[in-house]
């Protein structure tokens, strides 16, 4: 099925990761943020409900995660003192993602510039918090975090699929159902990915 034998594939990933030096990651983060702020692209991303939540949201999270590469070891250890087992970071990221699932956010972000700014900043911070906390969390805390977040995402997704009413004034009903399908799929894929990684580590 896969043309590349597994070791070669892993070597490629390792080579890619080793080339992503911290300065390059920060540069990439800045580039992603600059792109996200381009009005035409922002307009395109938010013109559809599913792109708004399944593309724009994760891109801000990724930018935040990449920015963490710019932190010095001293800064990281200072943060880590307030973030034992990644708990504060994951609580923060989980809170941000949960609040941003309220349908009103999507509508408000389109009409209120301060709310849009707050939304993007929160996603940036959540992305950074996730990266700073993930390894420290270990499987147990990771499992607890995902065990809360993924079912919530799937339930919200199912709600969007099933709702006969438009939950956002700015988006169409079929767009809403498509977003729902995306959310359920994303939650399932993330769960599978994490479980596969757990299985690999355990074996």
């Amino acid at each position: 099925m896969n043309g590349l034998p597994l070791p070669r594939w892993r070597a490629l990933v390792a080579a890619f990761v080793s080339r992503c030096t911290p300065p390059r990651q920060v540069l990439l983060a800045v580039a992603v943020m600059a792109l996200l702020l381009v009005p035409a692209l922002r307009q395109w991303l938010t013109a559809s409900m599913w792109r708004h939540m399944v593309l724009q949201f994760p891109l801000w999270l990724v930018a935040g995660a990449l920015l963490v590469a710019g932190l010095s070891p001293v800064a990281r250890s200072r943060i880590a003192r307030w973030n034992a087992y990644g708990i504060s970071g994951l609580v923060g990221a989980g809170t941000v993602l949960a609040v941003l699932m309220v349908p009103r956010v999507l509508d408000l972000a389109l009409v209120s510039a301060p709310l849009e700014a707050a939304k993007c900043t929160a996603l940036l911070l959540a992305g950074a918090a996730l990266r700073l906390s993930w390894k420290a969390a270990g499987l147990l805390v990771q499992g607890f975090f995902l065990g809360n977040m993924l079912p919530m995402t799937a339930v919200v997704g199912q709600l969007y699929i099933d709702s006969p009413l438009r939950l956002c004034n700015a988006y169409l009903l079929d767009d809403q159902a498509r977003l729902g399908a995306w959310l359920v799929t994303a939650a399932a894929l993330l769960a599978l990915g994490w479980l596969a990684q757990v299985a690999r580590r355990m074996s």
Partner: protein, 212 residues
């Protein structure tokens, strides 16, 4: 660990506060719900936009709403609409019948109906009149207007929280509802399409001098 617990609690608290602000103390989850709650708590005055239409003398919307000192039930429509406006139209036909019955029974209802088009470029007074007569609208009860100036129309829609989006097949999707206006030109309540009787009864109650 103590510091972590403290920070985690603080973060969770901040999340709770923002969620509570966003949902008006966990009462509403959608922008439409928030709009309806906010209107009920704080009436929204209409901007003094110019209007024209069928069977009206007033030149500005607040003047029209003030005429007769009564209550006005308003809906937003566009005449090319084939879906939800038709159901709004039939609700308004039922309102009209009820209000005509009120009048015939000797009660002065002081409730009027007003359909405002958000497709002012197409819905000229002649088009509105043709559409209104198709629905048997009685001009003494039910008026039809548009806001000819695009910028003013946009201002009106924005102020009242009416959101219109093209649905990709040449029609518009909009948050259709029954809007209740008082004689001071304030939008005092927004009712869902399913709350037809409630909207009418509420308008009658206000017209009789009932409290908001």
């Amino acid at each position: 660990m103590l510091r972590t617990a403290f920070l985690a609690c603080l973060v969770a608290l901040a999340g709770y506060v923002s969620a509570s602000w966003l949902t008006h103390d966990f009462e509403v989850w959608t922008a439409e719900g928030a709009r309806r709650l906010e209107v009920a708590q704080q009436p929204v005055p209409v901007p003094p936009v110019s209007i024209d239409g069928w069977g009206i003398a007033a030149e500005r919307l607040p003047t029209l709403l003030a005429q007769g000192g009564g209550i006005t039930l308003v809906d937003f429509v566009y005449t090319r609409c084939q879906t939800v406006c038709l159901s709004l139209g039939s609700s308004f036909q039922q309102f009209q019948a009820a209000l005509q019955a009120d009048r015939a029974a000797g009660k002065s209802p002081m409730v009027r109906l007003l359909s405002i088009s958000f497709d002012g470029a197409y819905d000229s007074p002649a088009v509105l009149q043709a559409y209104a007569s198709k629905l048997d609208a009685d001009p003494t009860v039910w008026n039809w207007v548009r806001v000819p100036d695009t910028a003013e129309q946009q201002k009106l829609l924005q102020r009242l929280g009416v959101i219109v989006i093209p649905n990709g097949v040449g029609d518009y999707e909009h948050n259709a509802a029954f809007l209740v206006f008082d004689a001071q030109g304030r939008m005092v309540r927004v009712f869902d399409l399913g709350e037809q009787q409630l909207a009418l009864d509420y308008a009658r109650h206000l017209a009789k001098g009932g409290r908001l």
